[in-house]
Structures are given as C-alpha cells and as structure tokens.
Symmetry: C2
DNA sequence: CTGTTAGCGCGTTCAG
DNA sequence: CTGAACGCGCTAACAG
C-alpha cells in the first residue's frame, strides 16, 4: 500500500484525477497522456487500493460465502461447491470472504449486519437448514443472495439446487429396471429441504413404475452413516420383503451396506442399493455404490453466476435446478 | 451501510469523535456519555464500516488464504485445514479471503501485489510446491505469512507442518512390529517438500529397526491412485520378497490395495500396507487401511495462531511441527 | 481534454 | 472529558 495514486500523478506530471481516469479506461483523457500514465504506473508498480475504492464506490467487489455447519470433517460436499463459487467469482473479478454462521451468531449479530459491516456486495449461502432462524433474514433482506440447496425465492434472493425430484425418480427407475418390486426409501433429515423433494420424486416414481405406493417403506436416517444403518434395520424389520432401497445420501447408503454385511444380506442379489451424492467413497466401498451424482462444482458456478448477474445487470433472482446423473456401479 | 457514525453522533448529541471513543473502549470518555452512545448505537443498529476503518487504520483485519492447486475434486486435505484456519481467525476477529494462485497468475501480478491491493494483513499459504516461482516471493516479501507443508522460514514467513520424519518412522516401526523384514516405500512426488522428509524418516527407521537399508526398495508415485498402483507393481517386480510397504499417501496406498487384489496378493498376510494422511476413505476400503493420520484441522489452527501472533505481538515467525498419529486398522 | 474541489466513513492528533 | 479539523486513497461532480 505504499505507492499511491498521488505518487503516480506526481511522477507523470498530471493530476490525481487524470491518473484515475487513465487507468480506469475513461473516455475523456488524451491518448498520449493515458499511455504515459499507464507507463509510469507500471514503472512504479502501482496497485489501486481496493479498500479506498470500495469506500468511495460503495461496492467492494467482495462476496461472502456464508456456511452453516462449517466444521471439521464436515460435509466435503461443501468443498466442491466452494471451489466452483471461487473460480467463477474470480473470473468476474470478485473476491470471496468466508463467513460462518457460528461466527455471526457468537457475535450476536444478524448475518446481514455482519455482511453490511464488511461492505459485502452479496452472499452465497450454503448448508443452511429449513428451520434456521436465518432463513427469514435471507429472504427478507435486501442484500443480494443466492442460496444453495434450499428453494428460497424473493426480490433479492435466488437459489440453485440439484433437481432432487428427478434424482429420486432416476434411482427408482433404475431399481425397477433391475427387477425390484418392493422398494424402500431411507430419507435424510426432515429439516432439509432436499428431503422433501426426494420423497416426492420417490413417491411419484414408485406410483409410476411400480404401481402401488406404501408409505410404510419410507424411513428416516439423518444423513449419517449410523443413521443409515439404523434406518435400514428398521425398514427390513418392518418389511422383510423389500428387495431394493434408495438412500437419500451415500453416507447413509454405506451405513446400509455395513448393516447388510453384518446381517448376511447380499448386495445386490438380495437387496439392491442406490445412494445419492456420489461422494468419493462411493467408488471405493465394496461393492461399489450405484448412486445419483450431484453436480457440486457446477452448483457453485451457477450460484456465483446468478449473483453476479443480479449485481451487474440488475437481473431478478431465479430458481435454478441442475440435473443429477445416475452412476451405475455394483450395488444396483 | 446506511447508518454512519455521524448519525449516531447526532442522535446522541455528541461529536463523531466521542462516538468513536465510546465504542472503541477508549479511556478518555465519561462513563455516562459512553453508556448513552452505546445505547443510541444499539438503537440505531449501527455497525462501523470495516472498509472505512481499514482505510484509516491501514489494517484490514482480513487475512488471505492462498491456495495453489485449488480445483474441483482436488485435495480434500485442504478442506479441514481451511476450516481450522477460518475457525481460529474468526476467534481473533479476522476475516478470511480466498485467493488462488491461478487468479493471481492470470492477472499477471505477483501474489504479494494481489494481497497488498486488497489490504490483506497477512497470508496463509497452502498447497504450494517446492518449485513454484511464488516460493521465492513468499520468503522475501515483507507480507507476514505462514506456509503449510513447506518449511520456509524468514523474517516474515513461518511454517506449520506435520512431523513427517516421525510419521514415516512410526509407519516403519509398526510394520516391523508386525514382522516385516523387507520394507518398501512408495514416495510421493519429488517436488513436494514432505516427500523428502518422509524419505528421511523412512531411511532412518529402516536402518534403526531393520538394520540394512536398500534404496532399491524406494519408488515414486505422484500421490495419485494410479501412481500408487504403478509404483507398487514396479516395486514388486524389482523386489518380490518385499513383505511390507509404506505409502506416502492414502490414495496411493489404496491404489496399491487395488493392485494387490488384481494380482492375488493377500493383505496383510502376504503384504502389509501402511498409508499416510488418514483420509475418509481409509476406514472404508476393504481391508481398512492402517495409516499415519495428519492433524489437518490443527494445522490450520496453528498456522492462523502463528500469523495472528506475528501481527499482533510482533512475534518472530517460527517452524512448527505437529505430531502425526498411527491409526491401526486392518492392512498392517 | 485536464485540474480543482468534495466527499466516501472512520480514527486521531491537538486544542479547549 | 470533549470537539474541530485533518487525512487514509480514491472517484466524481464541476469548472476551465
């Protein structure tokens, strides 16, 4: 922060204003003056201060990445999204500031205040739950935001998520194509928006491809390995005739696989299994997990793109659904 | 950014200066004045502008997290470190800005300029390679920085890494305790600093616990799954009598496991295997991978702590080695 | 086409 | 104990 616009102005023998104009591509400046200024600036290795610029322009070119549930060993789902967000935002010339809800909560401020204090131009929200008190704030605030994996839509808030309904449909269709007739569903936590949608897709698909729908075949895990184990045990105790199970997350599916091994159930011969997410583990467990892949990186990119369009072109926020993809491996 | 310090001053019937002093805990302000100011500020939901404050204080309370190799599906190693960095920095009142070397490179600016332009107070560097041209810059610049996994030490640059030498020693000692006598080593890419240290630890331990050291038993993968497969095949072709292998990463070890399965080699009966990292996969592969765990989250915390101490107390940077831990599972 | 004058919102001398 | 004045580095009117 040593060499300022003034130094450049002095060295080039012009006024500060002229330097600003020359460097920012304004029209009203002589071509040779501009060249000279640019030359001098390069010579001096001048870098405009983003801070000073933010102050006067009231725009920071800085976007917050608000992460709930940002914890050690947590969802590596977040990582790919984060990289997508960062890559895209960097392309558009925005910086990314990490914000965790915990931090805001500890400081007892609303997350909007948190962002405003930092002059963030907008926010991308990840990992937030339906029942989080921040949800209301996100929807109602005028701070431009895009939420991932939660269908919140308002004047200043859009969302990006996987097409969970169709994802669930693909899973069921695949199980049916493998000969399954009694298909169970281990859903994730009820407070997650995605759980509702996957349930809807499951039900629709079962009605369509199997005919009869029996809601006794739906149980709830909580997206965890242990939850998946427990839920599958519960399901099989209730309905031993089940020949295929769709898990709303790979982690739960892997828990289910462990239960099968312990209980002597052969996969996929006795029970076919399909997961959701396509986490790294999926290809490595034995048998390798058939699953519905989410386009994590692309979700990050889309969210970033939407936010930038809102910011730069004043576009209205929208809801974007990204297509999931069936990845066939060994469990179904 | 609507309500400013001036609004608070007016509402409280004092000057701007007094508000500043009252809110920042300065001594020279009347207790009742302070209370009134605080009250009014709360009433108005006033949040000081970090941008304005940064400009005048020449400190942004914002730290860059510079990530090389920041890509889709890449090292999830980074994620845990990142969370550690963020958590710790948040505690100390610092924000975290994501910076990727690619972004800087594309803009053809040195990363130091990149950080200075943004007024970052310091940087934590991850994933950088020994042969990266930025290394020189990191060491020589006056921008306070802490590097992870690369032993760079200078006036303004410290580092945090796992004690790789001892990690390798633990691995060898464990293999020996399991009866191995001819121990091979699949090292990672040579350009990684950690590779050298792991090799050193390996050699020292073999000399100590086995007696004879044969450098024909050292081969190089490149930290990838396929690299591990290839390297193990090469090693066994060269020295079929090998009865234990230490891999410098879990991913390579898992590649090795796949090779073993394909080649009909029983693990751990015919060949004992120890990995390095303790990635999530390690517990889930079959047989489950015995490995040396790196304290990823803690590395992030330590790096952040060191940087803050440098910034706030003017402490000299140092080199911190964090202890790895042997996690015994099924492969050795 | 260029320079002068005003702030952006805040912390900090330095007088009172 | 308090306030007026100044400046952080930069852009944006408004002249000339």
């Amino acid at each position: 922060m040593r060499v300022t616009i003034r130094d450049v102005a002095r060295a080039a023998g012009v006024s500060v204003t002229t330097v600003s104009r020359a460097l920012n591509g304004a029209q009203d400046v002589g071509e040779e003056t501009r060249q000279r200024v640019i030359e001098v600036a390069k010579q001096l290795n001048y870098r405009p201060s983003h801070v000073a610029r933010s102050l006067v322009l009231r725009k920071s070119q800085n976007i917050g990445l608000l992460v709930s549930d940002f914890r050690k060993g947590g969802h590596h789902f977040l990582y790919d999204v984060l990289v997508g967000v960062h890559d895209t935002l960097a392309e558009y010339g925005y910086d990314v500031t990490l914000v965790s809800t915990d931090t805001a909560r500890q400081q007892l401020v609303s997350y909007v205040d948190f962002c405003r204090a930092r002059g963030l131009d907008g926010v991308i929200v990840m990992g937030i739950r339906l029942d989080d008190p921040y949800v209301e704030e996100v929807v109602e605030s005028t701070l431009p935001s895009v939420v991932i994996d939660l269908p919140l839509l308002s004047r200043h808030c859009g969302y990006v998520m996987t097409d969970n309904v169709n994802g669930a449909r693909y899973a069921v269709r695949h199980l049916v194509s493998r000969g399954c007739r009694r298909i169970g569903f281990v859903n994730g936590a009820a407070h997650a928006a995605v759980s509702r949608e996957r349930l809807r897709g499951f039900e629709e698909a079962v009605r369509q491809y199997v005919g009869v729908y029996d809601d006794r075949l739906v149980v709830y895990g909580d997206f965890t390995l242990e939850g998946g184990q427990r839920a599958l045990a519960e399901l099989l105790a209730r309905a031993p005739e089940v020949d295929g199970v769709f898990f709303a997350s790979d982690l739960m599916a892997i828990g289910g696989l462990q239960h099968c091994r312990a209980a002597g159930i052969r996969v996929p011969e006795d029970l076919a299994v399909v997961g959701f997410d396509d986490i790294d583990l999926a290809r490595f467990v034995t048998p390798a997990l058939t699953t519905i892949a989410q386009p994590r990186y692309e979700m990050g990119c889309e969210a970033a793109k939407m936010l930038v369009h809102m910011l730069q072109k004043g576009e209205m926020p929208s809801g974007t659904l990204l297509p999931p993809q069936l990845v066939v491996r060994e469990t179904a």
